[in-house]
């Protein structure tokens, strides 16, 4: 079970152990990471699971995720990801994500 670090909006670092096969959003929700609201449950609709990739490698965003991000209102950066669209693998151990402000 890879450990993923989420940096909450107030700067608190939360180490979350994620299950391969679930989404990064699901792991964060289970651990009650502040700022991950995941209102649409992972349908790439709400952007309330938006994080910035701070450290680590993640597979490229697919069209649904990339477009949703591009046209979401605020705070999009090159490192932006919708964590509901990223499936956890063992290789992601050590990944650090910063919860995006809204």
């Amino acid at each position: 079970m890879p450990t993923i670090t989420f940096v909450e909006p107030d700067g608190t670092r939360r180490d979350v152990s994620a299950h391969p096969g679930e989404s990064l959003m699901a792991a964060a929700t289970r651990a009650n990471v502040a700022g991950i609201i995941a209102e649409c449950g992972g349908s790439a609709m709400c952007a309330t699971c938006h994080c910035y990739l701070v450290a680590g490698d993640l597979p490229e965003a697919e069209a649904l995720e990339a477009e949703t991000l591009e046209f979401v209102a605020q705070n999009v950066q090159a490192s932006s990801r919708l964590t509901c669209q990223v499936t956890v693998t063992d290789a992601m151990a050590g990944t650090v994500l910063q919860v995006a402000p809204r």
Partner: protein, 401 residues
């Protein structure tokens, strides 16, 4: 001070419970639900849940989120409200409230002829989805009655599992009440491509029965035999509890624009609430996750002492029908013309009332959907040519102000 008592821990009630604390509400928060399952996302039940026998419900938030917010979760059914004494009856026990929030959702409409049949199911909550998933083990041929969102999502999922699926719809097209003809046509083609048989303009004459099972649906010219029937003909708000308490109801529990019912200190949110809608200019019941959670956040601010302001958000909704992602922003009420951009793989349909943009439907087209939400929120309407050109053009047009 007996705090806020919330009846119903669905999308609306759960959001309200945690938002109250986030808004600084200091009193007690009690969240009551008939089920003691940790509140979960309903949309996956008709999408991914059926396909995976091991799938678990997806919690809206962790149990620790309620604990951290000091929310007391209680299992039980509320059977009576005394608005004068400010008390509710919970499984025979009497509980006081300072403010009461009705977030009791909706329940599925059923066909009276099919009540009690053992192989006729519908889909609203986790128990329904588990029952359906179990029944699928023994069922190959499935008839879905109703070509709305839940019926079509389920049909696509079931066809993907190798079932023989037929959808019966009385209207001449699928999604007739909720989507444009261009959208319906694309959805119908996609379902047909998945092997789903579609019977439009269908009229049921009778049912064939074997004991407590329904074995066939009889139409005007032919009969369709089936192992299982899934009824998806829409939902109704359950207003009995509110009505018995003397709270004004119509199709739902009536509220003003601030989500307050006719009784002092009683509020209603989510699927059950019939609330004046800024786009429609009339009171409406809206069944969507966004409506439930945004109303919950709005009410949390009011109950935490913010000024009374009307609830006003751009509605949005989605439905995943097999490989199609249908997204709707706004309400097409009163719309009298459409602007369509169809580039094969993607579709965008703009509904206008005269020269005012009311709603945008998209298929596999998140860019247009996301920008449409911002355009609708601005209250402005882009020229037709900009809408036809695409999302980037709309974004640029919006930025020009």
């Amino acid at each position: 001070m007996s705090g806020v008592v919330i009846i119903g821990a669905g999308h609306a009630g759960s959001q309200l419970a945690v938002s109250l604390r986030a808004e600084g509400y200091a009193g007690a928060v009690t969240l009551i639900d008939a089920s003691d399952v940790l509140p979960y996302h309903k949309p996956p039940l008709s999408k991914t849940f059926l396909k995976d026998p091991a799938a678990l419900p997806q919690p809206l938030r962790a149990a620790s989120a309620y604990d951290a917010a000091g929310v007391v979760r209680r299992k039980g059914s509320v059977t009576a409200i005394d608005t004068a004494a400010q008390r509710v009856t919970l499984d025979g026990e009497s509980l006081p409230y300072g403010d009461l929030v009705l977030a009791t959702g909706a329940r599925n409409r059923m066909l009276p002829d099919l009540l009690g049949a053992s192989n006729v199911l519908s889909l609203r909550d986790l128990a329904d989805a588990e029952r359906l998933r179990d029944a699928l083990a023994m069922a190959h041929s499935i008839t879905v009655i109703g070509g709305g969102f839940i019926g079509l999502e389920s049909a696509a999922a079931l066809a993907g599992m190798g079932k023989s699926v037929t959808v019966l719809e009385a209207a001449p097209r699928m999604l007739a009440r909720v989507a444009a003809p261009e959208t319906s046509a694309r959805v119908e083609d996609t379902l047909a491509g998945l092997g789903v048989k579609l019977r439009l303009g269908w009229t049921t004459q009778n049912y064939r029965r074997d004991g407590d099972r329904v074995t066939a649906v009889l139409g005007t010219t032919d009969e369709l035999s089936c192992d299982l029937i899934l009824v998806g003909i829409g939902a109704v708000a359950d207003t009995a509890l509110a009505q018995a308490a003397g709270i004004a109801c119509n199709m739902g529990i009536l509220t003003d624009a601030h989500l307050q019912t006719s009784a002092p200190h009683v509020w209603a949110i989510g699927d059950v609430a019939e609330t004046p809608h800024w786009q429609a200019g009339a009171a409406l019941r809206v069944e969507s996750v966004q409506n439930a959670t945004d109303q919950a956040r709005h009410l949390a601010r009011i109950l935490s002492g913010a000024a009374l302001t009307p609830f006003r958000t751009v509605p949005w909704f989605w439905s995943d029908i097999g490989p199609l992602k249908l997204q709707i922003a706004g309400l097409a009420i009163g719309a009298d013309r459409r602007v369509v951009r169809d580039d094969g793989a993607r579709l965008a349909v703009f509904h206008l009332a005269g020269d005012r943009l009311m709603s945008v439907e998209t298929l596999n087209n998140p860019a247009d959907h996301m920008i449409a939400r911002q355009v609708l929120d601005s209250g402005r309407t882009p020229p037709d040519a900009v809408m036809v050109e695409g999302a980037a053009a709309m974004k640029a047009w919006l930025a020009q102000g």
